[in-house]
């Protein structure tokens, strides 16, 4: 049975300030319920790719479509489509002047104009799931990095996105906090959330993904199922890249 494709890019090209292309020719499609992990050396364009998908960056050429609808950053419907594409960044980007509940409720209240009481209930349920219900009235600075990232995920989920983009959400965390965040993502994957995940946690990537994209210098160099990619990468560059994660080989 063919799954529904919800996000595609065709010949996406992107440069910063008209210099060298950072994304050289990205054609990509994402099916509903699919979890795609993007890996690749630092600076290869992974973050840029995710940012383009969420229309945070202007693109040079090519198209991005959400459910057969071409999306553009400058159009009014960009705001409506962004609501359906959640994103969590590497840095702790909670709003420091709002409490945890305030952070979580802001967008659904202002954008979707939903009933506050109902939102609070939903927020509390989600917070409970990620083990942070007791922090709902705390401020972000009172939370650890791992806790903040879990809140950031909950905040994105409150908008009921159809896709979640995660950009190295554990890269700035202390090692002991990585697991608590990845656990939440694994559960989301199990529940069928559609996700594009950039990560350097290879074990996690293996466990969570349906498909792996290996990027280098703005191009997808290799693509495959995780069990194939991680055990027998086909390209030389992917082999080299994966080798950097085998310390015992040094």
């Amino acid at each position: 049975m063919k799954q529904e494709v919800i996000l595609t890019t065709k010949n996406l090209k992107k440069s910063y300030d008209n210099e060298q292309l950072v994304l050289k020719d990205m054609s990509f499609s994402l099916e509903k319920g699919e979890v795609v992990v993007v890996v690749g050396p630092s600076g290869c364009g992974k973050s840029t790719f995710l940012r383009c998908l969420n229309m945070l960056e202007p693109i040079d050429s090519g198209t991005i479509s959400f459910k057969d609808q071409v999306i553009e950053r400058d159009r009014k419907d960009a705001y409506t489509i962004r609501q359906k594409i959640g994103m969590v960044f590497q840095s702790y980007d909670l709003f420091p002047h709002l409490t945890i509940l305030g952070n979580i409720l802001l967008a659904p209240l202002k954008v979707q104009k939903r009933e506050k009481q109902e939102l609070i209930q939903e927020a509390e349920q989600l917070l409970k799931r990620v083990g942070l219900l007791d922090k709902k009235d705390a401020y972000p600075r009172q939370l650890s990095g791992g806790q903040k990232q879990r809140v950031a995920i909950v905040r994105a989920l409150m908008m009921h996105p159809e896709i979640l983009l995660l950009d190295e959400i554990t890269a700035a965390l202390d090692p002991e906090m990585v697991r608590e965040v990845l656990q939440v993502v694994l559960e989301l994957a199990k529940e069928g959330m559609t996700m594009v995940i950039v990560t350097h946690e290879m074990e996690f990537a293996k466990a969570v993904s349906d498909r792996v994209l290996f990027m280098d210098q703005g191009l997808v160099v290799e693509e495959g199922k995780p069990e194939d990619f991680f055990t027998s990468p086909q390209t030389e560059r992917a082999k080299q890249f994966l080798n950097t994660f085998h310390y015992e080989a040094i």
């Binding site: 969420n54 945070l56 960044f89 709003f95």
Partner: protein
């Protein structure tokens, strides 16, 4: 020191201080409004207005208040616009203060990390909603120290208002010196009056600064009585 003289003239100073305070208050209020509007124009990079605002800020910051006042008091009437002494003083202070406040707010707004805007946008908020609910509250908190410094700066600047025949503190002091030659007493009272106005404001400012400082959101130890 002639303390009898000092005591006798306290009412004069109190009245003048009232005028200084009233004009400071109104001038600073207007400055804040002008400053906010100008900073919005600059932050949102609004085309033509942006140029106008830049010109205004340069003129306002690079000419002394005294000359701005002279223009309002002696220059404008030639163009058919006559302002009272008090009108001149308030307009002059607002003209000067507006640019300082604009820079304070602009810096505050620009200090909010870009990722905060991007996070807001990625949640589906519009640019304006991001500004109103995410950027502005943080920017106000970071601008507080400069905002407070501006308030004190502007109150001190009011000492030139006597030049446009406004019966403020400086005016009274000069008057007393002119009539009685009691220079020491008149100046002593002048300094005391300014101190009595500025010290409490300065203390209030440091208290507010401590309370709202950006980094202190949710730091219960920094919030008294919690």
């Amino acid at each position: 020191m002639d303390f009898e003289f000092i005591r006798g003239n306290v009412p004069l100073y109190v009245e003048a201080a009232g005028i200084t305070l009233r004009i400071s208050f109104l001038g600073i209020l207007l400055s804040t409004v002008i400053g906010l509007l100008c900073s919005l124009v600059k932050v949102f990079k609004i085309p033509v207005l942006g140029f106008v605002v830049n010109c205004y800020i340069e003129i306002s910051r690079n000419t002394p208040l005294l000359i701005q006042l002279f223009f309002l008091y002696f220059g404008l009437p030639k163009l058919g616009i006559v302002l009272s002494s008090e009108g001149c003083a308030i307009t002059g202070l607002a003209f000067l203060g507006g640019s300082y406040m604009a820079e304070a707010f602009r810096t505050g707004i620009e200090q909010v990390p870009k990722i905060q805007t991007e996070t807001g946008l990625s949640l589906g908020l519009t640019k304006w909603q991001v500004f109103l609910h995410i950027i502005l509250p943080q920017a106000i908190a970071t601008s507080v120290p400069v905002f407070c410094a501006n308030i004190i700066f502007l109150i001190k600047e009011t000492s030139v208002f006597s030049a446009v025949a406004l019966a403020d503190l400086m005016f009274v002091a000069k008057d007393l010196i002119g009539i009685y030659y009691k220079t020491d007493e008149a100046l002593f009272m002048l300094v005391t009056a300014y101190l009595m106005i500025l010290l409490p404001i300065s203390l209030l400012c440091s208290w507010v600064e401590r309370r709202v400082r950006y980094a202190e959101f949710g730091n219960s130890s920094a919030v008294p009585g919690k």
